[in-house]
Symmetry: C2
Subunit: 89 residues, 2 copies
């Protein structure tokens, strides 16, 4: 099995990403949920709904936050990021 599945959270409904996480776990032992900006809240929702309703034994290994610089020279801006590492026992 691969060890590096990633699910990027955007503006679709939460359940679309919950499905993506569950599918990713069929291919890998650990899944990283990644988001930027306003989608950070949704990323936490996706993890919590997945754990509560579908994969009770899923483990949140690590949550890390950071900043990414987006845009061209002269028009740069900082965007907050989150990466939530999940695994199954």
């Amino acid at each position: 099995m691969s060890n590096d599945e990633r699910v990027y959270i955007g503006s679709k409904p939460i359940l679309a990403y919950v499905t993506a996480v569950i599918t990713a776990f069929s291919r890998a032992d650990s899944v990283n949920v990644m988001a930027r900006g306003r989608a950070i809240s949704s990323a936490v929702d996706v993890v919590e709904v997945t754990k509560r309703s579908f994969m009770r034994d899923m483990i949140v290994d690590d949550v890390s936050i950071g900043t990414e610089i987006l845009g061209e020279e002269g028009n740069k801006r900082n965007v907050s990021t989150i990466a939530i590492k999940l695994s199954k026992p």
Copy 2:
């Protein structure tokens, strides 16, 4: 110094909470930034702006996520939460 300062993030401008975190560090060695629901993204922004612009040596000790149940019996709903533990060296 107290060891348990908490800053709750709501819908004010980010810099209001950045100021609150910096002030809290004058009273304590560690500060917990807490948020629920849509304010989770703002909590990450507050931590990143504080670190990048005001307290370069601040350490993110731990980020934890969870679910809180809000509302009365018969009208309960789940809300995602985040707690970001910060300290200074």
